[in-house]
C-alpha cells in the first residue's frame, strides 16, 4: 500500500463536490484540465524532494514556460478561471506556486500595470517566457504590516540616478531573481516608489533565509541595498506613492486566498487516499465515524472557501472588488485552511509527520499562507474597519 502516492487516477473524485468548474466555458475547462494534469504529473512528483532539501526546482522553469502559464493568466478576462488555475497549481505544490505567484502576480503585473512603454518592451518578453524571473521587495526586517507608514529604505535622486539604501526581508525569489522590484521612500517627497534593481548591481546583496519550516522550496532572501546606483529610468513611472501598490496587493491577496483553497484540496486528496488505503482493526480507516466526520469537516471548510472565491472572482471580473473584500477572502480562507490541514494531518498518524506522506508538507506550508500577504489579524482588522468605521491599527 502506498498511502499517499503522488500519482493517482481518480481525479473525478476531487474535493470540488459542488462542481464549480462546471461554471467555466468549455475551452477553459479543457485548458484547466490540461494544466491540472501538468501540475500533478510534472510538479507534484518533484516537489517533495526539493521541499525537503530546501532547493528550488530550476529544472521546471522550461516546462512552466512551455506550458504557457503566464500567457494563459494574463490573457484571460475570467478571474474564476485564473483562480482555479492557481488553486490547481497549489494543489500540486505550494512552494512552486508561490514562486510563480511572486513572479507573475507581483513582479510581472507591476511592469504591466505601472511600467513605462519602454520598460514593458524591455522586460515583458523575457518575463512571459520565464527567461527572466522577478521578485518583489516590500517588507523590511523591522516592519511588516506597518510598512507603509514606517518604511526605512530610501531612494535619493542625484542627477540621472537614484541611490537606494536600506534592507528588505523575506523577499521570495530574492536569491536568484534577475530583477527585484524594490520599494523605497523618495527622500525628496517622502513618497514610496518602486524601482527595478538587477541582481548584479553593485551594493545589492542577498542572503538566503535558511531553516524555514514552510514553503521550503521558495528562496526567501534578506536583501541589503548599500548605495545602489540605478539609472533614473529604473523607476516605474506608475509608482508615485504607496497607493500604486494597492492594485497589486489586492490581486495578490486574492491569489493567496486561492492558494488557501488549493491547499485544502491537496489535504483532502491526501487524506482520502490514505484513509481508504490504510487499514486498522481489519477495515479501512475511512469506515470509522470519527474519520469520516474529520474528512467531512475538511470538505465543509473547502466548500465554504471555494464558494466564497467564486463570488470574489465575479466581483474581480466586474471590476468592483474592494480591498475589504479581498482582505475578508484572505483572512477567512486561510482561517478555514488552517483548520482543514490541522484536521487532516493527524489522520495519517505518525506517518503524517514525514515529508514523503505529502501531508506534513501541506500542513507546514499552511503556516506561511496564514501569515504572508498580511497576517490573519491584519486582514481581519481591515475588514473590521470597514464594518465599523473604526480603525484599530
Amino acid at each position: 500500500m502506498s498511502p499517499a502516492s503522488p500519482t493517482r487516477s481518480a481525479w473525478s473524485s476531487s474535493a470540488d463536490i459542488l462542481g464549480v468548474s462546471d461554471i467555466l466555458h468549455r475551452d477553459e475547462r479543457i485548458r484547466l484540465e490540461e494544466l491540472r494534469e501538468f501540475f500533478q504529473t510534472r510538479v507534484r512528483p518533484v516537489a517533495l524532494q526539493h521541499w525537503s532539501a530546501g532547493t528550488f526546482p530550476f529544472e521546471l522553469l522550461p516546462e512552466l514556460a512551455n506550458i504557457g502559464l503566464v500567457g494563459t493568466l494574463s490573457e484571460t478576462g475570467n478571474h474564476l478561471f485564473s483562480g482555479l488555475v492557481q488553486l490547481e497549481f497549489t494543489r500540486a505544490d505550494t512552494s512552486v506556486s508561490t514562486f510563480f505567484g511572486v513572479h507573475n502576480e507581483l513582479f510581472t503585473s507591476a511592469i504591466q500595470l505601472l511600467g513605462s512603454a519602454e520598460q514593458k518592451r524591455t522586460y515583458l518578453p523575457d518575463l512571459l517566457a520565464m527567461r527572466s524571473v522577478g521578485a518583489f521587495a516590500l517588507t523590511e526586517p523591522e516592519h511588516g504590516s506597518d510598512i507603509s507608514r514606517l518604511m526605512q529604505t530610501t531612494a535619493e535622486r542625484r542627477g540621472d540616478e537614484w541611490i537606494l539604501n536600506g534592507a528588505k526581508r523575506w523577499i521570495g525569489n530574492g536569491t536568484f531573481a534577475d530583477f527585484v522590484l524594490v520599494w523605497a521612500r523618495d527622500v525628496a517627497d517622502q513618497q514610496i516608489k518602486g524601482f527595478v534593481v538587477e541582481k548584479d548591481r553593485a551594493g545589492f546583496t542577498t542572503r538566503r533565509i535558511a531553516n524555514k519550516t514552510a514553503v521550503r522550496s521558495v528562496q526567501n532572501a534578506d536583501i541589503v541595498l548599500d548605495n545602489v546606483h540605478l539609472p533614473f529610468d529604473k523607476w516605474l513611472p506608475g509608482t508615485t506613492n504607496f497607493a500604486a501598490t494597492n492594485g497589486l496587493l489586492l490581486n495578490s491577496r486574492v491569489w493567496v486566498a486561492w492558494q488557501a483553497v488549493g491547499q485544502q484540496f491537496a489535504a483532502v486528496d491526501v487524506a482520502r487516499d490514505y484513509v481508504l488505503c490504510r487499514h486498522q482493526f481489519r477495515k479501512p480507516l475511512a469506515a470509522n465515524q470519527l474519520v469520516q466526520a474529520t474528512v467531512v469537516r475538511m470538505l465543509e471548510n473547502t466548500s465554504l472557501s471555494l464558494g466564497l472565491m467564486v463570488q470574489i472572482a465575479r466581483m474581480q471580473t466586474s471590476g468592483t472588488l474592494t480591498m475589504d473584500q479581498a482582505a475578508l477572502a484572505k483572512s477567512t480562507c486561510t482561517r478555514y485552511m488552517r483548520e482543514t490541514v490541522a484536521l487532516g494531518r493527524p489522520l495519517l498518524g505518525s506517518n503524517g509527520i514525514t515529508v514523503e506522506s505529502e501531508m506534513a508538507k501541506i500542513f507546514a506550508d499552511a503556516e506561511a499562507i496564514y501569515s504572508y500577504e498580511g497576517t490573519y489579524e491584519m486582514n481581519s482588522l481591515i475588514v473590521g474597519r470597514a464594518l465599523t468605521g473604526y480603525s484599530t491599527f
Partner: protein, 396 residues
C-alpha cells in the same frame, strides 16, 4: 429595545453586511421583489417576533399579509432557486420561528401535494394552501425514532376496504396543533412500505398536544401527535408515495432551505451585534472600536459570507436539477455549524444583555439550536456526505 439597524445603516459601509454584492446575481425584477420581501420581513415580522417568542404564541393575524407576498406560489408561479433561498434567508434574518412555520407549510406540506399528490389533491387543496387560508403539517419523526425513522418507523397504516386505519404516534411535528391537514408518514401493513397520508384536522382518533417549554423556535407550535385508530378514505393516500424513497425530493430541498435559514440567522446576529457594538460604550469608546470585538465581528461576517457563497452554489445545482442529497446534507451541516459559532460569538458580545430577549440576540442564539438539530442532526448529515465521499457507510 430592538436595536435600530436601520439607523446604523446610513452610518457604516456594507450596511446589510453584504460583502458579496449578492443582488448582482439577480435580475432587475428579482431585485425589486427581494427588496420588498425584505422590507416586509424587517418591518412587519421582526418588530413583533420577540414578544410572540416570549409568550410562545402564534400570530394568526399575520397570515393574510404573509399570503399576499405569494411566497408559496399561486397558480404554479415559482421564484428562482436563488431568489427563493435569499427570501428564506431574509425571512430567517427577521425571525426564524415564523420562517420555519412557513417552510413546513410551503416546502414540506404544499410541495408534497404538488409533487406527490393526485390531480384531485392538487385541484382541491392548492388554492387554499397558497393563500394560507389552510395550513399544513408534516409528520415523520416519532418519539423513539429520529434519524433512523426510515428503518424503524412504528406508525402503521392498515388498508381495510376503502379506508386506511392509522395507528401510532409522532413527535416534534411543527404546525400540527393548528394545521388543517397533517401529512402523516406510516408503514403500510400490506407491503411494509412507508407512505404518506393526509389526515384532516378533527378526524376521530387524532389528537395533538403542544410541546411546551422549548428554548428555541418558540413561536412554532410543535406537537406530539397520537393516531388512535384514525380512519381516513383510501384517497387520502398520496399516490406519489410508494416507499420511503419518495420523501427524498422533499427532504433534499427542505434541507437546503434550512441551510438558508442558517445563513439568515447569521446575518441576524451580525445586524444585532454590529449595532450594539457601535452604540454600547465601554471606558468611553464604543465596543466596535476595540480589536477583540472587530475580530469577532469579522469572524461572524466571514462565516456568514462563506455560508452564503456555498448556498449560491446550491441554488445553481438546484436550477440545473443536479442537486443530490449529499449536496443538501453538506450545506445543512456546514451552514448550521458556522451558524452555531457565529451566534455564540454574537451572544457573548452583548454581555449580560445578550441573555435577555429584549435585545433580540438571545432569541437568535437559542433558535440556532433547533436549526442545528432538525432536518437531520449535524452528525447524520455529515455521515451522508462521508458516505458519498468515501463510498463507505458509517451510520452503524
Amino acid at each position: 429595545m430592538i436595536v435600530d439597524t436601520v439607523r446604523s445603516r446610513g452610518e457604516v459601509p456594507y450596511p446589510d453586511a453584504d460583502l458579496l454584492s449578492v443582488t448582482e446575481l439577480l435580475s432587475g425584477d428579482e431585485r425589486t421583489r427581494l427588496a420588498s420581501l425584505r422590507q416586509f420581513f424587517q418591518d412587519e415580522v421582526r418588530p413583533v417576533a420577540t414578544e410572540l417568542w416570549n409568550r410562545a404564541a402564534f400570530p394568526f393575524e399575520l397570515l393574510p399579509r404573509l399570503a399576499a407576498l405569494d411566497l408559496v406560489g399561486r397558480n404554479g408561479r415559482r421564484d428562482s432557486a436563488l431568489l427563493t433561498g435569499l427570501a428564506v434567508m431574509e425571512f430567517a434574518r427577521a425571525d426564524t420561528s415564523l420562517c420555519s412555520f412557513f417552510l413546513i407549510h410551503s416546502e414540506l406540506f404544499t410541495e408534497a401535494i404538488r409533487t406527490l399528490g393526485s390531480d384531485a389533491h392538487r385541484r382541491e387543496l392548492l388554492p387554499a394552501l397558497t393563500d394560507l387560508t389552510n395550513v399544513g403539517a408534516f409528520a415523520l419523526t416519532e418519539p423513539d425514532h429520529g434519524s433512523d425513522v426510515s428503518r424503524e418507523m412504528e406508525t402503521t397504516a392498515e388498508r381495510v376496504g376503502d379506508e386506511w386505519i392509522l395507528r401510532g404516534s409522532k413527535r416534534w411535528i411543527g404546525n400540527a396543533s393548528l394545521a388543517d391537514y397533517i401529512l402523516v408518514w406510516a408503514r403500510d401493513t400490506g407491503d411494509s412500505q412507508v407512505k404518506g397520508f393526509l389526515v384532516e384536522h378533527g378526524r376521530a382518533g387524532l389528537s395533538t398536544s403542544v410541546i411546551l417549554n422549548k428554548i428555541a423556535l418558540r413561536i412554532v407550535q410543535n406537537a406530539d401527535v397520537v393516531l388512535d385508530d384514525v380512519h381516513i378514505p383510501f384517497d387520502n393516500w398520496l399516490p406519489g408515495t410508494t416507499s420511503f424513497r419518495d420523501t427524498d425530493g422533499l427532504l433534499k430541498n427542505s434541507r437546503t432551505w434550512v441551510a438558508w435559514q442558517a445563513v439568515g440567522q447569521q446575518f441576524a446576529a451580525i445586524d444585532i451585534a454590529r449595532s450594539y457594538a457601535l452604540e454600547r460604550k465601554q471606558f468611553g469608546k464604543p465596543l466596535a472600536a476595540r480589536q477583540i470585538v472587530q475580530e469577532q465581528l469579522v469572524r461572524m461576517v466571514g462565516n456568514a459570507t462563506t455560508s452564503l457563497s456555498l448556498m449560491i452554489q446550491l441554488a445553481r445545482l438546484q436550477e440545473e436539477d443536479a442537486l443530490r442529497m449529499e449536496h443538501a446534507a453538506l450545506a445543512k451541516a456546514t451552514c448550521s455549524a458556522r451558524m452555531r459559532e457565529t451566534v455564540a460569538i454574537g451572544r457573548a458580545m452583548l454581555g449580560g444583555n445578550g441573555i435577555s430577549t429584549d435585545f433580540e440576540m438571545a432569541k437568535v442564539f437559542a433558535d440556532a439550536e433547533a436549526i442545528y438539530s432538525y432536518e437531520g442532526s449535524y452528525e447524520i448529515n455529515a455521515l451522508i456526505v462521508g458516505r458519498a465521499f468515501t463510498g463507505l457507510s458509517a451510520f452503524d
